[in-house]
């Protein structure tokens, strides 16, 4: 049976499955790879349609060599998910070209299964999983049509049968998925394809340039507080700290160490929370200002309190952290740090420096000076806008004395320069601020539009003090966050979850669902399995207990499966007879002779016979047949099929009709 030739129809079926399975890879593979596969499918189908032979072996070899060379030129390796998937896909296409027998198609089905898996390895979407299960279903139905002898079952039968097997496999799948031991660490380091670009905040800031982040609705991270959430004035999520200004751009400088930050003395309550980071391909993690503990092993605080990982964040992680929103410094500023954070570019922004000198003369006290600068932002007509005019040349001068329009970056940059010009150490902190509570999931969503920049100034005796100059011009900015300020319907979020616009509400519900999917399904791991064992009240949960549980559960499910599969062998004619009888009763009821609850078949037939002599004979016969089929020993005179047919034919006319 393995050497049977394949028909054009079978080829079409498998081609469709192959292309559909590649459909899930469209975003991750270069487009020419699916294109090659589609072309292979079309060539093969064309050859089969026209009844011409196969491509000559030499041509196939040349094609295969070309394709592999192309792949190598593009990827430089066949290790790694994308390159491996691309290779597999192209191989499937080439295999299709040389497909003669069913055995070739068997190999293609295996490739389809593996391609589907590879699309899922780094995926997180429920819909993708559902789609690929659909593809697998279709492939299996195609396989059934292929393996089955002539006449092969039609599509409906095949799909129904494949679906039945799929459904019967679900309980076993669930048991495996829940109980199969997960690795704590991968067997080998997964090569990072870095096919996703960096996103979110960067570690440079150029106030004169256009800012795209503020308009992006994309989620940066989500946060769930263990207890009370801190007030919005204290919900600053710390990212990279920028020290160096060249007159136009702020940069972070290079950290050579993760030696840790100078100690801080907590002044207020500690907040415990979980940050659920979306991958952004940077090394830093966003923690509530100021972080004191975190659950990530390969990460540490920089000297300016940014939590930095050793690796780039390429997959979503959860970080459990503890922070104090009010602290004071435990140690004085070092000379190096003081020099670094008071440096200003020479001969740039002269008017700003002059303004700073004038104001400093009036306010020798550091805090008073800070306040006077903030007052200037409040009193003078400074505007907050997401679409400020571009700044050229002396960007700070131009902003302070010219446009007076900008968003957080402009204010933070100008403020830092004004501080430094007065000899007060100052730096720019970037991160996120505020966030939106999702009432359906009890967590906060921080979007890219919540990105923010603020300042820290060093005040002797207090240490680094957070100053948010943007809040000086628009107090509502800090209270409500950027997204609400920018949006036209400002009242939307402030009215609270009850008054949410239905669309926003639906979005939040969807986000809560997505979060549940992530938490329960995507992030299911060893710890979750341990929790599961604890829920089942298994003492001292460990890997061994898990395996035992898996074996037990598997045995039970397999018993069920065996029973389920064999049960279908037993003729269920009694049930079928009952179903036909119900139909008969329904027909009689429609004719005005409903069966009473207490009536058996014979009694019912008698009553019908009395009331409708014209139906007497047929109804009596049918009811007797039903009794025989239902209650007598098998091998009665009337078969089920005959009974069913008779019921189908039976059409009582309503009385008088």
């Amino acid at each position: 049976m393995n050497t049977d030739r394949v028909s054009a129809q079978q080829l079409l079926g498998i081609s469709v499955c192959l292309v559909l399975s590649l459909g899930a890879q469209l975003t991750s593979l270069p487009l020419w790879i699916p294109a090659i596969v589609v072309i292979c499918c079309l060539i093969r189908l064309g050859l089969a349609r026209s009844g011409r032979g196969m491509l000559p072996r030499g041509v196939l070899l040349v094609l295969a060599g070309l394709a592999i060379a192309l792949l190598f030129l593009r990827f430089r390796t066949f290790n790694g998910l994308t390159a491996g998937t691309a290779l597999l896909a192209v191989m499937a296409g080439l295999k299709l070209l040389e497909t003669r027998t069913k055995r070739d198609i068997y190999i293609i089905t295996l490739i389809i299964y593996f391609l589907s898996l590879s699309a899922l390895l780094e995926a997180r979407s429920f819909w993708l999983l559902a789609y690929l299960i659909g593809v697998c279903w279709l492939t299996t139905a195609t396989l059934l049509r292929l393996t089955s002898a002539v006449p092969s079952p039609d599509w409906r039968t095949s799909l129904r049968y494949g679906g039945r097997i799929l459904v019967q496999a679900l309980p076993l799948t669930l048991v495996f998925w829940l109980l199969f031991p997960r690795f704590a660490a991968p067997l080998w380091q997964v090569p990072n394809d870095s096919r996703t670009a960096e996103s979110g905040l960067s570690d440079t800031m150029s106030p004169g340039d256009i800012n795209q982040l503020a308009l992006s609705d994309e989620v940066a991270f989500r946060v769930r507080f263990a207890g009370e959430a801190p007030p919005v004035r204290e919900r600053y999520w710390r990212g990279p700290v920028l020290h160096y200004f060249d007159g136009r751009s702020w940069t972070r400088g290079v950290y050579s160490d993760l030696a840790g930050a100078p100690p801080l003395l907590p002044q207020g309550p500690a907040y415990q929370y979980t940050v659920m980071m979306e991958p952004h391909q940077h090394r830093w993690l966003f923690m509530l200002d100021w972080p004191s503990q975190w659950s990530v092993v390969r990460a540490g605080l920089t000297s300016d309190y940014t939590l930095l990982q050793l690796d780039r964040l390429s997959r979503p992680i959860d970080v459990i952290g503890t922070s104090y929103t009010r602290v004071r410094a435990g140690e004085p500023l070092t000379i190096d740090e003081r020099r670094r954070d008071t440096r200003i570019p020479k001969n740039r922004n002269p008017r700003t420096l002059q303004l700073a000198a004038e104001m400093r003369a009036a306010h020798p006290d550091d805090m008073e000076y800070v306040q006077s600068v903030l007052d200037m932002f409040t009193q003078q007509p400074f505007y907050y806008t997401l679409t400020p005019p571009r700044l050229a040349g002396e960007s700070v001068d131009e902003f302070l004395f010219g446009t007076k329009r900008g968003f957080c970056e402009h204010y933070a940059s100008a403020f830092a320069i004004l501080m430094r010009a007065a000899g007060i150490p100052s730096r720019v902190v970037t991160g996120y601020q505020g966030g939106m509570l999702n009432p359906y999931g009890d967590y906060w969503i921080l979007r890219q539009s919540d990105a923010h920049a603020w300042n820290e100034v060093w005040i002797e005796g207090r240490g680094w003090v957070r100053i948010d100059p943007t809040s000086a011009i628009a107090p509502s900015r800090v209270e409500q966050g950027l997204s609400d300020l920018a949006s036209a319907d400002e009242a939307l979020a402030s009215r609270g979850p009850r008054g949410l616009h239905w669309f926003a509400g639906a979005q939040l519900r969807l986000d809560a669902l997505r979060e549940l999917w992530r938490e329960r399904i995507l992030d299911f791991d060893q710890d979750s399995q341990r929790d599961l064992l604890q829920i089942l009240r298994i003492p001292e949960p460990d890997g061994q207990k898990l395996v035992i549980l898996l074996a037990v559960a598997m045995t039970l499910v397999l018993f069920w499966l065996t029973w389920q599969v064999r049960r279908e062998l037993t003729p269920q004619s009694r049930d079928l007879a009952a179903r036909a009888y119900v139909k008969l009763c329904a027909k009689l009821a429609a004719a005005g002779l409903p069966r009473m609850q207490y009536e058996g078949a014979e009694a019912y037939a008698q009553r019908v016979a009395q009331q409708r002599p014209d139906l007497a004979q047929s109804v009596t016969t049918l009811c007797r047949h039903y009794s025989a089929l239902r209650y007598a020993a098998p091998s009665s005179a009337v078969t089920l099929g005959q009974f069913e047919a008779a019921v189908r034919m039976f059409r009582p006319r309503p009385r008088g009709g």
């Binding site: 049976m1 393995n2 998910l81 055995r103 068997y106 295996l110 299964y113 593996f114 589907s116 898996l117 590879s118 899922l120 390895l121 780094e122 995926a123 997180r124 993708l128 999983l129 690929l132 299960i133 697998c136 299996t140 396989l143 059934l144 393996t147 089955s148 002898a149 079952p153 049968y161 097997i165 799929l166 019967q168 496999a169 679900l170 076993l172 799948t173 495996f176 998925w177 199969f180 997960r182 690795f183 991968p186 067997l187 080998w188 997964v190 399904i521 995507l522 992030d523 299911f524 397999l558 499966l561 065996t562 599969v565 064999r566 279908e568 062998l569 037993t570 003729p571 269920q572 004619s573």
Partner: protein, 320 residues
């Protein structure tokens, strides 16, 4: 690898014989005697599944694992379905068939399906010959197995096999049935000698006259009967195809004798005798067979023909 596999199969077959003893046909297949193994395709699938599992674990991808587990579970479910496909079927077959050397013997296995499920793709394997068929729910279905036979003799097949790759070809389950099937392989009819009666032994009058005038009645046409015996008039009147039969020949039995063929080797003699048997049968002449191992008294008809052919097939073989 191949020989190892063959050895394992032989042991299994011997074990099946030992365990189940001879089956009384029609035999019903209970689940204890159904074996199952992954096919070559199934082994490839297992390798892919293992790769899928490792990839899913290594990437710590719960979706990938879910998919891998789903595929694995489907394979396990398929195993049950494959096993079920043979369960509680019953098999019957006419255990003795006749054939000529160099031609084919045809066994007609009747599979009966007393369940509500269609049993698709059932193979009946009988000494390297395979018949394939499907049995609809609650029905019986004949499946022909065509066994090519090369040599004259009595061939016994003590074991045959029911096998299925349904549904996806990942597994095959099979069962051995211990029935004794016999093929009587008559020698290939061949030879150039004329019938003894046509020789110079004094029966010339019969051969000249061919008994044409001794018309005794009509009988149903069978393929192989010379067309000149056809009762065309009957056919023209709209009757069934019939041939005239001649009673005169019944009176003069033809003895087909081993000893009348000197100068030929054993197989050639048997072939010649076989040809004569067929010629006499077609010509409706009573004939008897006398060979060293057996003597069959003159008679006619299908049963007699079979008896003679079987005697020729069994010649030189100890029949037990």
């Amino acid at each position: 690898m191949g020989t190892l596999r063959q050895a394992a199969i032989n042991r299994l077959r011997a074990r099946a014989t030992r365990l189940h003893g001879r089956d009384v046909l029609p035999a019903s297949i209970n689940r204890r005697r159904i074996y199952i193994l992954p096919s070559r395709f199934g082994i490839m699938l297992a390798v892919i599944l293992a790769a899928m599992l490792i990839a899913g674990l290594n990437y710590n991808s719960n979706l990938g694992l879910a998919f891998a587990f789903l595929m694995g579970s489907m394979a396990l479910v398929t195993m049950h379905h494959c096993n079920r496909n043979l369960m509680r079927m019953s098999v019957d077959v006419t255990p003795e068939v006749d054939a000529f050397a160099g031609r084919e013997a045809v066994f007609e296995f009747v599979l009966r399906n007393d369940s509500n499920l269609e049993r698709r793709d059932i193979e009946v394997r009988c000494s390297s010959a395979i018949g394939l068929g499907s049995v609809p729910a609650m029905e019986s279905e004949p499946i022909e197995v065509v066994v090519p036979v090369a040599r004259r003799g009595v061939t016994r097949i003590n074991q045959f096999e029911l096998r299925t790759y349904y549904p996806f070809g990942w597994f095959y389950s099979w069962t051995y049935l211990q029935g004794s099937l016999v093929i009587y392989v008559a020698p290939a009819p061949a030879g150039s000698r004329t019938l003894p009666s046509a020789g110079a032994q004094g029966h010339a009058s019969h051969s000249d006259a061919r008994g044409d005038e001794d018309f005794s009645g009509l009988r149903a046409y069978e393929p192989g009967i010379p067309l000149k015996h056809m009762a065309w008039k009957v056919l023209a009147r709209g009757g069934e195809a019939a041939v005239r039969s001649y009673s005169s020949l019944a009176a003069q039995p033809e003895w087909l004798e081993w000893s009348s063929l000197p100068g030929l080797d054993e197989e050639a003699r048997l072939s010649q005798l076989c040809l004569w048997v067929l010629e006499c049968d077609v010509a409706q002449r009573p004939y008897g067979l006398r060979i060293p191992s057996k003597e069959i008294a003159p008679s006619g008809g299908a049963a007699h023909r079979f008896a003679c052919l079987r005697a020729l097939a069994a010649h030189g073989q100890s029949e037990t």
